[in-house]
Symmetry: C2
Subunit: 496 residues, 2 copies
Amino acid sequence: MTILPNFLMNRAALTPNRIALEMEDRSVTFLELYRNSLNLAGKLVELGVKRGDRISLFMANSLELVELLFALKNIGAITVLHNLRLTSKELSYQVEDAASRFILVDDERELGLKESKEFMGTQKIVPFSKVLQLKESELTPVEEFSLEEIDTIMYTSGTTGFPKGVKQTYGNHFWSATGSALNMGLHEEDCWLLAVPIFHISGLSILMRSVIYGMRVIIHKRFEAEAVHQDLMERQVSIVSVVTTMLSGLLEQLGSESYPPSFRCMLVGGGPVPKSVLEECMRKSIPVYQTYGMTETCSQIVTLSPDFSMSKVGSAGKALFPCQLKIMLDGMEVEPNETGEIVVKGPNVTTGYYNREESTSEAIQDGWLYTGDLGYVDEEGFLFVVDRRSDLIISGGENVYPAEIEAILVSHPSVKDAGVTGMPDNRWGQVPVAFVVSDGEKELLEEALLSFVREQLAGYKTPKKIYVVERLPRNASNKLMRRELLKMLPGGVGEH
Amino acid sequence: MTILPNFLMNRAALTPNRIALEMEDRSVTFLELYRNSLNLAGKLVELGVKRGDRISLFMANSLELVELLFALKNIGAITVLHNLRLTSKELSYQVEDAASRFILVDDERELGLKESKEFMGTQKIVPFSKVLQLKESELTPVEEFSLEEIDTIMYTSGTTGFPKGVKQTYGNHFWSATGSALNMGLHEEDCWLLAVPIFHISGLSILMRSVIYGMRVIIHKRFEAEAVHQDLMERQVSIVSVVTTMLSGLLEQLGSESYPPSFRCMLVGGGPVPKSVLEECMRKSIPVYQTYGMTETCSQIVTLSPDFSMSKVGSAGKALFPCQLKIMLDGMEVEPNETGEIVVKGPNVTTGYYNREESTSEAIQDGWLYTGDLGYVDEEGFLFVVDRRSDLIISGGENVYPAEIEAILVSHPSVKDAGVTGMPDNRWGQVPVAFVVSDGEKELLEEALLSFVREQLAGYKTPKKIYVVERLPRNASNKLMRRELLKMLPGGVGEH
């Protein structure tokens, strides 16, 4: 059992006066951040939060959210982070599944949730302003973290369509930060711009690096190309995490200018980057580091290193130092350049899904995580991701699982069968489209189904288009062949 | 149990063509270093080396020594590193204690050892050239390291005078490298100059950082101020590890020049640095990082960070990020500025002494290592080392334990009682001096005792001077009060 000191408490003792976070016109040092997290922890104890409790956060990026995150660690509670775009019904399911004791929300979200008929946890909702009004109970903050202990839980859907909570331990976060530093280095003057959601591992992992490295982080509430561009140009940012759509937006902003020399890493994750975009980055000497990672690996697990950022364009790179990578097909490791399933291992890989022993033992065998994604490794060991698992659509950096949408569609009385897949989209990379079998009136049905889905699923999961078809492509064992769906389109998008 | 890939195998896969080591006019890349270590491993298997064996190395700094170190890791054998200055008798004791299967030595050392009557392990000695002549057995190199596994053993004496083997796990080494990087950063162009012995943790830890960081290391056979100075000026060195005497030598060489901007860290360990030397460094803008560490902490555990290198001159700094520090007196943690015993904790701290359960449980309680050294922490948490434990003399960076010398002295027929302590010395920091009680002829006795000790102990442990006195200062319970010894000197050096 490996024990480290409480990350933020320790960081505040080591470099109290370094700037930790900046957001809009506010900034806090590590000491201030720790003190604020300690005050908030006192209020949360007053609210009734105890060590080991699961506490749900349903909040937008803000300094307060960061303070809450570290407040919960001071108490030893487990933080459950939820995607802000979830519908009440989806949130309800996750909160129930994690058996969260409270749901802390931005004030403006309180009413919507409480009025929703779909939401089951009304009595657990606590708006942030109410937390602030509480008095502070006495508290002895947790002084040591065991690396085996669960720190956070994030939900991800999967082949079944039922979201599962990914357990992320303190060790997973620490090793993720270490692996990233061993690849991209660690400079005293580093500053990471965070414009991705903190409820995603891409955002949360930046905050963990901040306290572990003692690094300044600039937080944006959401990604807006113009505002991010301005900060990259003017505020000595050295690293920024983006997904492909954001990168395209930034390139547009950049025009014929170039980033200042302090900018040293454009970390691009969340799905493949079109070659044309990478080539444009090369022409503009933008230091792009492609990366491959997921909630289960606590952010990056394979990242292109600076040594190869120009010679291996299109590759996600090699496994980070503490990690391992192999490509498996039919239970055997394949030769270089052969495509198979991407399988990874490392101390940043989750120990499993919360209360889901079966799913855990399916996904993780002998410490190796079977990602379901397809890829190959070239002769020199560089990973090329060929395709995300067939059941995964990545739309603007958000994961969309067809099974989840299909389950909603077939629950509609007029639908006999449903299949969902991703369609290429200039702006979002991919968007979901649905194919349904039904006897109903084609035109009316499409509208009715769209609003039926919209009520129950986050907007980015709602199909862009619903097509009524005679039957779905199923193989001999009646398994839906999602890759065949696009061939049924009127124009025929064909294989992708 | 945390598993990482074989460090060097992994590094060779990640950045095969980066320079790993340079020595004299040779240099090897990580891939070459790994291949050489693999070839050597094949030869060692042919010799009879097996997983779990303890293998002693009694060799000077060289590329071959580094290749051997990594060859043994490929087999999963445990490396026992011995101080080259040991007498045959001392080496004999350590080899016996570790039950080493072989003793690999530089060729020039073979004859001396084999001819020594004091040496008990003659049949185990294998000169390096003989290893090279062996053919290579087939070998599947160890692919994964468990961080709990013992990698190396280094001997340190203690209060009893009997050297004990400090177990250093793969995890100890990894965490030590991580803690150092989180403090001093990690730059792509970093290069660490190694002119301290590899058989000490100060030297070995630089090699571990090399493979973990992917960092170039320049190796010197021994510290020679002129040669080291020349490299600091000309070979883009960014970091060098030194002890006080080396620092003084470098300052002399530097004269009125300054180091190039690529040089960013003079890491000074192994005992206190005189204020005058630190002030000279400040005047010359030399980035001195004082550090406190020992074999048991696998190198640094407390190091001054760049934020405070100028404002906290004289302090060893704060505990590295993964570590903790407290000052204890009579079983209680003391207030700031109160002096007590320095007690440390962290994943880089040894799990204990090899086959010495009692010594282990005395030194390590609840994961905290009681160092025996005295110090205080100021209001801002900075450690000031007041005095190494009373029984420790640090001479030119080597630890000298009075009890070990005393045990030899009293074994001489003319000596009734003996006490050893450190005397301030301009060149070495401290040198041992002895006080003996005897009825013999004063002048003859001193000479006789000096040669008697010299035969049995390494040169740096031989007292600079032996004084014959009436009686030794002992307290009521007959415990030797070593701090009082210096008061008995003819000139009276007094308290230090």
